[in-house]
């Protein structure tokens, strides 16, 4: 009798572990589908960043970006003139900034912002969410589902994310939390747009933060196009030559 009980318990826990792994797998697959809907794996894009300040002032930046794979992003500032020619590179959690006058890349962090405003560097050089986060759990919402994400390690900008997505795996809203549980910022994904090549996704990301009352930043996608790149485009030696990719 005791043996039967032990076997039953073992089977029960094995089933539980299997089910947990299965659901986690399903949720992680959902996250990968969200990533795929947001951006092709390899692409070029043009964006406008608008930072709005409490006194009503605005700062605008026009940016050309390229991405390859899960975690390689490079970016070139096209406007304003005072920023033109600056480039940034992200390889996983490594980030660099190249200023033409300085003539060499310097390391920057995901926590700071090359533009100022509410978006930090990890928001501006966003890599696939599945590259940085594991899914802890999920629940259904009115319009789709909510994923609870946990950073894979401490180098990731936010410790936890709460992500709202529609039934067809298009992200609607993300809340970003520190390890202490404090809400750092909210990202609203708005205005779905057909960018061609099967890319239908929100064209505007707005962000605001309880830490920066009265500040608001927007990222407007003007163009997204799938494109293949050599790995060597994503090296610090190439940072001064990203402009050549626009030709």
């Amino acid at each position: 009798m005791k043996t039967v009980l032990q076997i039953s318990l073992l089977l029960f826990w094995m089933t539980m572990a299997g089910a947990t792994a299965l659901f986690a797998q399903t949720d992680n697959d959902r996250l990968k589908r969200i990533d795929a809907k947001l951006m092709p794996e390899s692409y070029e894009s043009y964006r406008r960043l608008i930072d709005e300040y409490p006194d009503g002032k605005k700062k605008e930046f026009t940016i050309f970006s390229v991405k390859k794979g899960l975690d390689k992003v490079a970016m070139l500032f096209l406007a304003p003139a005072s920023e033109k020619g600056r480039t940034t590179l992200r390889l996983g959690e490594n980030m660099w900034l190249y200023i033409p006058n300085v003539g060499r890349p310097i390391r920057i962090t995901s926590l700071q912002s090359v533009t100022g405003g509410v978006f930090n560097n990890s928001d501006i050089m966003q890599v696939d969410y599945s590259a940085e986060y594991n899914v802890l759990g999920s629940e259904n919402s009115e319009s789709g589902y909510i994923l609870e994400l946990k950073a894979k390690d401490k180098t990731v900008a936010y410790d936890k994310l709460k992500m709202w997505a529609s039934q067809d795996d298009i992200v609607i809203k993300i809340e970003c939390y520190a390890a202490s549980g404090m809400l750092i910022k909210t990202l609203d994904f708005k205005e779905p747009k057909d960018f061609g090549n099967g890319i239908l996704r929100p064209s505007v990301i707005e962000t605001y933060s309880p830490l920066y009352k009265g500040y608001r930043s927007s990222m407007i996608f003007l163009q997204i196009k799938p494109r293949e790149f050599k790995d060597e485009v994503f090296t610090i030696n190439y940072m001064s030559r990203i402009e050549t990719l626009r030709k």
Binding site: S82, R107, T109, L111, G116, T155, T244
Partner: protein, 424 residues
């Protein structure tokens, strides 16, 4: 007339660019293959508080009874041009400075052509500014760098005529992500008849770059043609936690020329030694960035040697002989210029963009501390950006130290620089 020419250059460049910018389509279409101009126009106004007891001041303004406060108001114009196709590019950067009608300087900082070669390799020919090393204020391994001003390390400088071949390779393994090789060939700067130089005086510089375990590592070497002088060095940079980056440079030099004053005359030496730098950059939760660096250079002057140099300048002043004064001034400019003549320095810079939610402001402060003689330079740059592309800089700098110490013997007690820069 020269002022008119200077203004014409500024106006034509900015108007040409304004026409380009009126068309916003550039932002979403591939850039056309055309010459693109950009740059900045700077209006400077600087006030200097003279240190009249300084030997350097007395040499510079010998027998001139000047006011205690001097001013300068140069106009500066940087013009960059880029013509880029998919694989070939031509780039130039010029610097023009107008001081008076009799003093208009034009410098070609950069002019080079570039070519994307096969398999992630790249060739560059012409005059180019390089910047090796990871240090912010000092670069012991900056063998090909222009002389850096620690008071303004981000200022553009003239490059060197060179041929640069570069090869990059990425890897899909966890411990090494990138590798790059740089070879720079530098013809001799000693040109005969403004045209020819001797091939054996060609210098060679090489650098290997690795991104290893999320750490930037460079190994570099510089060989001076037709001499036994050589440098070899290593640098690194790594984020130990997201908010803290550490960096370092170590350079060994062999047969490095060094100049001291001995017996009242210039004495060249060749030495072997090391130079190194250790630094960190820390971003705190209030978005304040702190850079701290320690720099050592065996080739720098000791306190005694700097004292000998100061005595040499004082003796030249005391001689009251024009030719001696002129020679001493020339020797000072040729062999003892720069703002880090001695062996050990600490550099600290604290930067705070948008302090107290003042959106258009950026405040910073820096200290360059000479450990050997306890003199220091303190600067407090304050930037204000009232509209897009217009920056106004207020920068007071104070030079503090005993008479005879490095910063205490400069011509000026301090200065206040006000600079308006318009970018186009």
């Amino acid at each position: 007339m020269k002022m008119l020419g200077f203004l014409l250059l500024v106006l034509t460049s900015t108007i040409a660019h304004a026409k380009d910018d009126s068309c916003d389509i550039f932002s979403v279409e591939p850039a056309n293959e055309k010459l693109e101009l950009s740059g900045s126009f700077d209006v400077d106004y600087s006030i200097y508080w003279s240190r009249k007891e300084s030997p350097l001041y007395q040499l510079q303004y010998h027998n001139q009874d000047l006011s205690d406060i001097l001013t300068s108001y140069p106009l500066e114009f940087y013009l960059d041009g880029n013509y880029q196709t998919k694989d070939i590019g031509v780039h130039f950067k010029t610097y023009s400075e107008y001081t008076t009608d009799n003093q208009v300087d034009f410098s070609l900082f950069e002019l080079y052509g570039s070519l994307n070669l096969f398999d992630s390799s790249f060739l560059l020919l012409g005059k180019k500014m390089y910047n090796w090393g990871k240090g912010y204020a000092f670069n012991p391994v900056g063998y090909v760098n222009p002389k850096k001003d620690p008071e303004n390390p981000e200022l553009a400088h003239a490059g060197v005529v060179s041929m640069n071949f570069e090869y990059s390779k990425s890897f899909q393994v966890s411990w090494i992500q990138n590798f790059a090789f740089d070879l720079i060939v530098l013809p001799s700067e000693n040109v005969l008849n403004n045209m020819l130089s001797e091939i054996e005086n060609t210098d060679l510089a090489a650098k290997l770059y690795f991104l290893l375990w999320d750490t930037d590592v460079d190994l570099m070497s510089y060989y001076y043609g037709n001499t036994s002088t050589a440098n070899i060095g290593v640098d690194f940079s790594r984020n130990i936690i997201p908010s803290v980056e550490i960096h370092g440079e170590l350079s060994f030099f062999i047969n490095q020329p060094r100049y001291i004053i001995s017996g009242g005359a210039l004495k060249p030496q060749n030495i072997e030694g090391t130079s190194y730098l250790l630094g960190l950059r820390w971003l705190n939760p209030w978005n304040i960035t702190t850079i701290l660096e320690y720099y050592h250079n065996d080739a720098g002057l000791t306190v005694t040697e700097y004292g000998d140099y100061s005595t040499f300048l004082s003796d030249a002043v005391d001689s009251n002989i024009s030719s001696t004064i002129s020679d001493a001034l020339n020797l000072s400019k040729t062999y003892f210029s720069g703002s880090a003549l001695m062996q050990d320095y600490l550099y600290l810079k604290i930067s705070w963009p948008e302090p107290f939610n003042l959106v258009d402001f950026a405040a910073s402060a820096f200290i360059i501390y000479n450990i050997n003689d306890s003199s220091l330079s303190i600067g407090i740059p304050l930037e204000y950006q009232p509209i897009t592309n217009l920056e106004i800089l207020f920068q007071p700098i104070f030079l503090i130290g005993n008479n005879g110490a490095e910063f205490g013997s400069k011509q000026y007690l301090g200065k206040m620089e006000i600079q308006a820069s318009y970018y186009f």
